[in-house]
């Protein structure tokens, strides 16, 4: 019980720390240094690209067939999105395809 509470409290606290840090450092009355303002503008594009890679990180350790399913479903999302530009259609289409493929 005590152990559970301590583990959960630490995970909660450290997670909160990682989220609060930029606001504590740069959210004060002094305002943001110009460089951080610039970073805040250009980082999202890079971070989202990195998160895409993060989602496909298992590719490096998956068996070949599983790789093929992940990549096919990913390609389906891209094609659907370039074609229809409808977020929900692209996500639903790719996910349903993925769920079908991994059951083959």
């Amino acid at each position: 019980m005590m152990k559970t509470i301590s583990i959960m409290a630490i995970v909660a606290f450290v997670t909160l720390f990682t989220r609060v840090l930029p606001f504590v450092l740069f959210g004060g009355k002094k305002g943001m240094p110009k460089m951080i303002g610039y970073l805040g503008k250009v980082l999202p594009a890079a971070i989202i690209a990195a998160l895409v890679v993060y989602c496909f990180k298992e590719l490096t350790i998956q068996p070949a067939l599983q790789k093929l399913w992940s990549l096919s479903a990913g390609a389906a999302v891209i094609l659907l999105h370039l074609w229809k530009r409808n977020t929900l259609v692209s996500i639903a289409g790719g996910t349903v395809l993925y769920m079908l493929l991994i059951r083959i």
Partner: protein
């Protein structure tokens, strides 16, 4: 008052917009939440601890690691370090929202607390006009996302065994969400340098360091390179003057 009516109507419209924006996260969070709940139940934890984790920690992938910590009774130092390493990426998310969140008054603390990968990505895709017209759009998206996550984990811990359908693979919806946001962002911006660098650097570190520890180093390197680029531009500007 006609003005009042118009505001209420706008509020509804903006709320609907927030719901629409959060729907992709709904599918991911409900089912990943269920998976988390099931795992908690299997490890011997009930709805109280499950909900506590989803309400007070609220960090998707970290909560799965949490279960293994709980099961093993991991040493607290290890717990702290692992959490710092896995969630360190959050430090970079806030940088883009310092100004916007600060203006949100009483919602500010919650906005900071609830900035997950998915919420961050969706908030990045909200155009400035929308966020300025109704800042609560961002709050609604954040709160809806956490509601989905908490609801999913409760369903999982209470009724995981009873679910009639095998949801395996549904987690791909999160991958699809990031892909779609990536594509939209690519289309909406003229410069692709940052996105291309993000891909290149993270693939490089993925190959170098493997799937478990590549993300934080990638973000550190990307941020450093961008800072250096900024300093160089500034120096050039000064030389011109």
């Amino acid at each position: 008052m006609p003005g009042g009516v118009a505001t209420v109507k706008n509020t509804k419209e903006y709320f609907r917009y927030a719901v629409k924006k959060s729907i992709p996260v709904f599918f991911g969070y409900i089912f990943l939440g269920i998976a988390f709940g099931i795992l908690m139940a299997k490890t011997g934890y009930g709805p109280f601890w499950t909900l506590a984790a989803s309400l007070f920690i609220y960090a998707g992938s970290m909560q799965f690691v949490l279960v293994s910590f709980l099961a093993a009774g991991a040493p607290l130092g290890l717990v702290a370090l692992t959490t710092l390493f896995i969630n360190g990426r959050h430090m970079f998310y806030g940088l883009s929202f310092v100004e916007r969140f600060r203006k949100m008054g009483r919602y500010y603390p919650y906005m900071v607390f609830s900035l997950t990968d998915e919420t961050y990505s969706v908030l990045c895709s909200i155009p400035d006009e929308k966020a300025e017209a109704e800042p609560r759009i961002m709050f609604w998206i954040s709160a809806l996302d956490q509601t989905y996550w908490a609801a999913g984990s409760l369903i999982g811990v209470l009724a995981g065994g009873l679910l009639p359908f095998d949801f395996k693979g549904i987690e791909f919806s999160m991958t699809a969400l990031f892909l779609v946001i990536f594509l939209d962002q690519w289309k909406n911006s003229k410069k692709h340098g940052a996105a291309a660098a993000g891909l290149a650097v993270s693939v490089f570190f993925l190959i170098l360091l493997g799937p478990d520890r590549f993300l934080l180093p990638s973000l550190l390197v990307l941020a450093t390179v961008m800072c250096l680029g900024f300093i160089r531009e500034e120096q050039k500007g000064e030389l011109k003057e």
